[in-house]
């Protein structure tokens, strides 16, 4: 943007949900279905503990379906935010289920069975409402991610679809975390498309400002300025239904409209991100 000074009032406008995932996870909507793409434990743990802490603070009931190893990360951060998980369990405001125990209960021939899973999910939600004590429920789980990481893409997508249906039917906000590299071209073959089709919002990166910067720069370096017919194509483009930062949407536009540039853009964006992470903060 230009060098001109804006009026003070614009600068004082509230911080945007488009600059950070925090506001989105704090207020996911009554049946929002949000997904985070992560690669490091800090972003992963911080996002889940933030989602949980904000739900608890709002008087909601929170269901977490975690592997044992990941619960260590999450519970430690919850304690760091001043919450006592044991006390929350006793109050019935926090429900913890083991992802590895849950999955076999509804998997049949390597695919989730909706006839088993959906009633099980509904019972869990009903119990979390504690007879009306907690009318609002939010749910984070990693069973879908467990299947994805195992290479069971079809099973993972099927389970996500079931979750999405239950979220709408039961009016529950759902948050998922996927171990997915946003700059890996392979995820855009199938997995990322599945993610977009089953989620209302996509959180592609921890640092939105950095993601914006590196994607913009990678596109400029690899493709050049977007003008003329390319600009018209960009302006006319309608992305998939799920909401995501414009920097992530731009990558999808490049894939669709300039497929031969897509991989070089991702490669360059990764290099730029690595450079910026290696550089000490000012």
């Amino acid at each position: 943007m230009g060098p001109l000074s804006g009026p003070r009032t614009i600068g004082r406008m509230k911080q945007s949900s488009h600059t950070s995932w925090r506001k989105l996870l704090a207020e996911p909507g009554k049946d929002g279905h949000i997904v985070q793409l992560y690669q490091d434990d800090d972003f992963y743990g911080e996002a889940i503990s933030h989602f949980t802490a904000e739900g608890i603070a709002r008087g909601e009931s929170v269901i977490l379906v975690a592997t044992k190893a990941h619960w260590q990360n999450i519970s430690g951060r919850l304690r760091g935010k001043g919450f006592d998980p044991e006390q929350l369990f006793r109050l019935g405001q926090l429900t913890l289920l083991d992802a590895d125990d849950m999955l076999p209960k509804f998997m049949a021939s390597n695919l989730p069975d909706g006839g088993i899973f959906k009633p099980l999910a509904r019972q869990t939600i009903e119990k979390a409402r504690a007879g009306g004590k907690f009318p609002r429920v939010r749910w984070w789980g990693e069973m879908v991610n467990c299947l994805y990481v195992e290479g069971n893409v079809k099973g993972s997508h099927r389970l996500e679809q079931f979750f999405d249906q239950v979220a709408h039917e039961e009016t529950v906000a759902i948050f998922c975390s996927f171990l997915m590299d946003k700059f890996d071209p392979k995820i855009y073959d199938e997995a990322f498309g599945n993610v977009c089709r089953t989620h209302s919002h996509v959180i592609p990166a921890d640092d939105y400002a950095r993601h914006r910067l590196v994607v913009n720069r990678a596109v400029t370096e690899v493709i050049g300025d977007i003008k003329g017919s390319l600009l018209q194509s960009l302006v006319s483009w309608k992305p998939d239904a799920s909401l995501m930062p414009s920097s992530q949407a731009l990558l999808l536009w490049v894939k669709e409209h300039m497929p031969r540039h897509f991989e070089p853009v991702l490669v360059r964006a990764r290099e730029l991100e690595n450079d910026s992470q290696a550089r000490p903060s000012a």
Partner: protein, 196 residues
């Protein structure tokens, strides 16, 4: 005003009727480009008995805007005296609002109510956003999102101007996603590139 009560004349050659409530944007390359969009836009608004408010910023200041309207045969001074037209530089307009996006929106909605109470058919607005600094961009996009949502049921038409040279590809997507329609002039005529 002729035609259905919920429609009005856009004024840009190639675009016919637009609905009240529409929040549009366009990307301009320079002063001439900007005037070529906004002069016919306001001429149509004045013909349609709408109160017109033009918030200017570089490269087209308030004096330039008035001169551009005069060149098109409109008596900007007389229209301002009558109250049908208000041309203000962004520093004069936004500096009077001492709060956040909701307050700025509230001021637009109040202007619409006042215009209708004064016998106008509606309110026609344009704002050139070239003054917005990069650090304020996200907050400004929130304001655009709010305006897009809240004006849709009002007798307001808005055309926001963005300096193309100041926008990255990601900025362009940010803007397009927060407006109900994006106007462009690829040749002699204008057209909607997107409309939601």
């Amino acid at each position: 005003m002729s035609g259905p009560m919920h429609l009005t004349d856009c004024g840009l050659p190639g675009i016919k009727a637009i609905p009240y409530g529409i929040h549009m944007c366009h990307f301009f390359r320079g002063q001439d480009d900007l005037a070529a969009a906004l002069v016919p836009y306001f001429a149509a608004g004045l013909r349609s008995n709408e109160r017109c408010i033009w918030i200017t910023a570089p490269p087209l200041h308030a004096g330039d805007a008035a001169a551009a309207l005069e060149q098109a045969g409109l008596d900007a001074l007389a229209l301002e005296r009558k109250g049908a037209l208000l041309i203000r530089d962004y520093t004069d307009w936004y500096a009077k609002v001492d709060s956040d996006a909701a307050d700025i929106l509230g001021r637009w909605l109040h202007e619409e109510e006042r215009a209708i109470a004064d016998g106008y058919s509606g309110l026609r607005i344009t704002g050139n956003t070239s003054f917005v600094q990069s650090g304020d961009w996200s907050a400004f996009m929130d304001y655009e999102e709010l305006l897009n949502r809240e004006q849709s049921s009002r007798r307001i038409v808005t055309l926001c101007s963005y300096a193309l040279g100041q926008c990255s590809a990601v900025d362009v997507l940010d803007v397009v996603r927060r407006h109900a329609g994006t106007l462009d002039r690829p040749d002699a005529g204008w057209q909607f590139l997107t409309s939601c």
